[in-house]
């Protein structure tokens, strides 16, 4: 009897140990959240990811997933309003990491370090270092990575690599351009050359370059592609003077960048100023321009003629952002007359965070880790789940070529595409995006004055001076000392 008792006890102890060990995993368990509802605040097209994984996760865990899909222009106010009022309407929020200063710095989302320690995370070593940086704030992890974001250059191979066109270009401009184009100066000439004639013989005239230019739809990141080359150097961010917090946005480098982007509008499709990210992607894959700037998304749309009307499948080449033939050194206050090329992590990537007001934090964590696990997230970034807005961010995403081919890519195309993105994300001197509190407001004013330049209602110099004034005001409103230290921290410098 005594023996039986001990055997029973051992079995019970083992059972309780194994069952509690089973609970302490990031992997979702059968029926573990029955009756719970996880509400996700998200924008399009990212909702496609949640849409793809929610049915099977609901069946597995017994939970319900509800999505609140809002346009990008409304995401910030919906999210912050929920935080300020403490409503807790959203458990899981998909947001751009460039708002880290407000969202992470504001303490509105929970630090995940303890949860990661307790429940684990699906292969943290598989996450690229740049993405690990964007999900962190003050040495703590506040978000789950989900997207690897950086702008890159897309070009039409049938135009730029056509020997006949190359010869004509050389005849007109007196030099041969690089493939992919190396500098904004080259791009300017190429864009001019390919504007206003039917170089792909489809019966319609094409244009030189397209980029996001519509107000409130992320146009400022197009401008930053130029500014990074003329006003920054590798590893040197161009936003503020890290000694004084004085904005640098009206120095000659930024003004030159503004002039250059204004020049490009002459070689762009007539509807350029109404191009948000969706419009740009649709227009470019429908074949109206020779060059475009975008995150990795155009590559995904390119692969699906049926779904997204792509007329350029297999015709696109990929490259990093072009550099510039000179750059302005804000420390020495002088131009450096040498070629300069800077990789820039525009936007930083979309991330998922858990609201501190959420009542379903564990369920939210497990749902997010479920679909961002390596074997699932690859399906979201490679095109198998279509256009989701998520771009590769794990090492395994760059290695698993077969899945990309399954997603509709040609081997040569995807190899080049992934090499380009990986080179940018793994560049230790890539400049990270502005992440201090008020980043959304700083960028809104950048966007506003950029829009005035692009529409011809302000000169580049006036616009840059106006941005400067606004940035000074925002910095003062936020608290100059606080901003200075946070900016320095974002650059890896000690506090003042």
């Amino acid at each position: 009897m005594r023996r039986f008792f001990w055997i029973l006890m051992i079995v019970l102890v083992l059972f309780s140990v194994t069952s509690s060990a089973a609970e302490k995993t990031w992997e979702s368990q059968q029926g573990e959240f029955t009756g719970n509802t996880v509400t996700v605040l998200i924008t399009d097209p990212h909702s496609a990811v949640v849409e793809a994984w929610k049915p099977e996760w609901e069946v597995l865990t017994g939970a319900k997933v509800e999505m609140v899909v809002v346009p990008y222009a409304s995401l910030y106010d919906k999210m912050i309003t929920d935080f300020i009022t403490g409503t807790g309407a959203y458990d899981l929020i998909c947001w751009p990491s460039t708002w880290a200063g407000d969202v992470m710095g504001g303490g509105w989302v929970i630090a995940l370090d303890d949860m990661i320690k307790e429940y684990g995370y699906p292969n943290w070593d598989d996450v690229t270092p740049a993405i690990k940086t964007v999900v962190s704030w003050a040495n703590k992890i506040y978000a789950l990575p989900y997207d690897g974001d950086c702008h890159m250059l897309y070009y039409r191979k049938d135009a730029l690599e056509n020997p006949e066109y190359m010869a004509k270009f050389k005849e007109k401009y007196g030099y041969e351009y690089s493939i992919p184009p190396k500098s904004w100066e080259e791009i300017r000439d190429i864009a001019e050359f390919f504007t206003g004639w039917d170089w792909d013989n489809d019966g319609e005239n094409e244009y030189g370059i397209a980029f996001i230019a519509q107000r409130k739809t992320q146009a400022m990141w197009s401008y930053l592609d130029f500014a990074m080359q003329y006003a920054a150097q590798p590893g040197v961010a161009p936003f503020f003077d890290p000694e004084t917090m004085k904005p640098l946005v009206n120095n000659p480098g930024w003004v030159k960048a503004m002039e250059m982007i204004q020049t490009m509008t002459q070689f762009a499709p007539p509807g350029l100023l109404s191009y948000g990210y969706s419009e740009l992607r649709q227009a470019f894959v429908s074949g109206n321009s020779a060059i475009a700037l975008d995150w990795g998304d155009i590559g995904i749309l390119e692969q699906s003629p049926e779904k997204y009307g792509s007329k350029v499948k297999g015709l696109l080449g990929y490259g990093p952002l072009p550099g510039a033939n000179k750059t302005y050194d804000f420390k020495k206050k002088q131009w450096i007359e040498a070629y300069n090329r800077v990789n820039f992590l525009n936007f930083g990537g979309w991330v998922f965070s858990i609201s501190k007001f959420s009542k379903n934090q564990l369920a939210a964590y497990k749902f997010a880790t479920y679909f961002t696990a390596p074997e699932r997230s690859i399906l979201d970034v490679c095109g198998i789940h279509g256009y989701t807005g998520a771009n590769p961010w794990r090492f395994s995403h760059f290695e698993n070529i077969d899945k990309w081919i399954e997603g509709g890519w040609g081997k040569e195309s995807v190899t080049k595409y992934l090499q380009t993105i990986q080179a940018i994300l793994s560049d230790p001197k890539a400049v990270t995006d502005l992440r201090i509190p008020g980043a959304a407001e700083y960028y809104d004013y950048l966007d506003l004055h950029l829009a005035q330049v692009l529409s011809g209602s302000a000169t580049p110099e006036d616009a840059c001076n106006n941005i400067y004034r606004e940035w000074v005001r925002i910095t003062e409103t936020q608290g100059k000392e606080k901003q200075l230290n946070l900016y320095r921290e974002s650059l890896g410098l000690p506090p003042k």
Binding site: A73, Y76, D77, I80, T81, F83, I84, G101, D102, G105, G106, G107, W108, Q214, R215, K216, T217, P269, P270, G271, L272, L273, S274, E279, Q282, A283, N288, P437, G438, A440, E441, D444, L448, H449, A451, Q452, L454, S455, G456, S457, A458, T477, Q478, G479
Partner: protein, 292 residues
């Protein structure tokens, strides 16, 4: 049956209290709270506390915020043009459809459609119609050989595009009110005018218009106040752009409040906005009543 007892004061207060409390909670408290906030700086997104700044927000609005004056100028011009246009077109339509013409009832219903649709739906519909690449307006004009028109990307043209959409949407409001007024006009006056040999224009000028004036005053006032609050069309069609060329006062206030989360300044803007609307409505009322 006994004589009814007079209701005590306590009972009266007891019955009134719930509605008074509701009114206080929903109406008075937010007003007082927002007035108090308008004297503070509060960057709510970063979880900071409100800091008392006195009249600084109001000083900034009037003396150091060109964006406020830009949105004020745009709003005033917008209100003037759309209200005058809607009144004129509404009057014309009501006059025509008050006559015994064929399909009169059909047209009366059709003209009301734009007003019945939700304004934000209207805004997104027009945004799609005017889309430079895929919009049907551009395609139709292109098929007629008319080159690309920068409907939504030209800072000089876009404000007028918004006005046209507003006029299309809200002329039915004027039309409806005026048509109802037309139908109440006494027939005897027109008979007398006809006997006196008055022309159609004279009958309109000296009988119809003076009799319609009270309702016109009311319609203009309602429409002007509503137009002043212009938001959905800006939000849905232009986002205030290009630049700030179509940024209305309420859209600017929304941007400051819910994009920058500068809630103190946004409250100050709201109070200035309220003051402007009150002033304009008083001005219009007095001016138009004088005419009546």
């Amino acid at each position: 049956m006994g004589k009814a007892q007079p209701i005590g004061k306590g009972v009266k207060i007891g019955f009134l209290a719930p509605s008074l409390l509701y009114l206080m909670a929903m109406g008075i408290f937010p007003l007082v709270w927002s007035l108090s906030l308008s004297f503070h700086r509060w960057k709510a997104a970063t979880a900071s506390s409100p800091i008392f700044v006195g009249l600084k927000n109001f000083y900034t609005i009037f003396f150091a915020d060109p964006r406020f004056w830009n949105s004020f100028r745009f709003t005033v011009i917008y209100v003037f043009i759309v209200v005058v246009s809607e009144l004129s077109l509404g009057l014309l339509l009501a006059y025509i459809l008050n006559e015994k013409i064929r399909f009169r009832n059909f047209f009366r219903v059709v003209f009301l459609f734009p007003m019945a649709a939700p304004p934000i739906g209207i805004a997104f519909m027009w945004r799609m119609l005017l889309n430079p690449d895929a919009g049907i307006v551009g395609k139709i004009m292109g098929s007629m050989g008319i080159n690309f028109v920068r409907w939504l990307t030209d800072a000089k043209l876009t404000p007028f595009v918004l006005m046209v959409v507003d006029i299309w949407e809200w002329t039915p409001f004027m039309f409806l009110g005026l048509l109802a007024a037309f139908q109440t006009l006494p027939v005897e006056l027109y008979d007398a005018a006809q006997v006196d040999g008055a022309s159609r224009f004279q009958a309109f000028r000296f009988i119809t218009f003076p009799l319609l004036l009270p309702i016109i005053v009311t319609l203009v006032l309602l429409r002007a106040i509503d137009a002043f609050k212009l938001f959905e069309l800006v939000f849905g069609i232009t986002g205030g752009g290009p630049g700030t060329s179509t940024e209305s006062l309420s859209y600017y206030t929304y941007t400051v409040g819910f994009q920058y989360f500068d809630l103190g300044y946004a409250c100050s803007l709201s109070w200035v906005f309220l003051g402007i609307v009150l002033f304009v409505s008083q001005f219009l009322l007095r001016r138009l009543r004088k005419e009546v």
